[in-house]
Symmetry: C2
Subunit: 108 residues, 2 copies
């Protein structure tokens, strides 16, 4: 999967995995990997800046903790983040309709 296909779609995906329960960065990586069937293996240089961006935007809130001697920063969805996530899901449906309307992917 090409790198820049992700552009603009990553944010809602991150918000989606922290929706059911707060997770720390590394766990978010693993959750994305699992939910995508192993396709979405984000480099840390993508994920961590993205998390900070989403926190600055007010869509995530973070808290430090220490588990087994390792420091974790756990992120949870804010109410603003929940709204953005819902909007993102709608936008995805629109985007999908647009692409498939143009691509007609059935026509191999």
């Amino acid at each position: 999967m090409k790198a820049d296909a992700l552009r603009g779609h990553l944010d809602p995906m991150i918000l989606a995995v922290v929706e059911p329960e707060p997770l720390h960065g590394y766990a978010i990586m693993e959750a994305l990997l699992e939910r995508s069937g192993g396709e979405l293996d984000l480099p840390t240089g993508t994920l961590y800046p993205a998390l900070r961006r989403l926190e600055r935007a007010g869509y995530l809130a973070s808290e430090w903790s220490t588990v087994g001697g390792r420091k974790r920063r756990t992120y949870q969805l804010t109410s603003a983040g929940a709204k953005v996530l819902a909007a993102g899901k709608q936008e995805w449906l629109t985007f999908r309709t647009v692409v498939e309307g143009v691509l007609r992917p059935g026509e191999a």
Copy 2:
């Protein structure tokens, strides 16, 4: 629809609209607009550079003509372009599976 959501998805869409018949730039814009239900209104500053990029890459071939005093550059899909288009359609299906696996868009 956010601007950079298009990243990496525009190329196959352009190739798709010239697949059935060669079209000139302006007609490609209109075709994309129509096939997308009015959602995909590309600025010329996006489309024309993209066309040149696709031609440089060998996926499109162009030819000038004049119709009603207006100069047109008509693009047609090359065989290399057809392969890339087919691959792009497959990649789209993968991408869609990944996003929906993570997003679970049904869960509003």
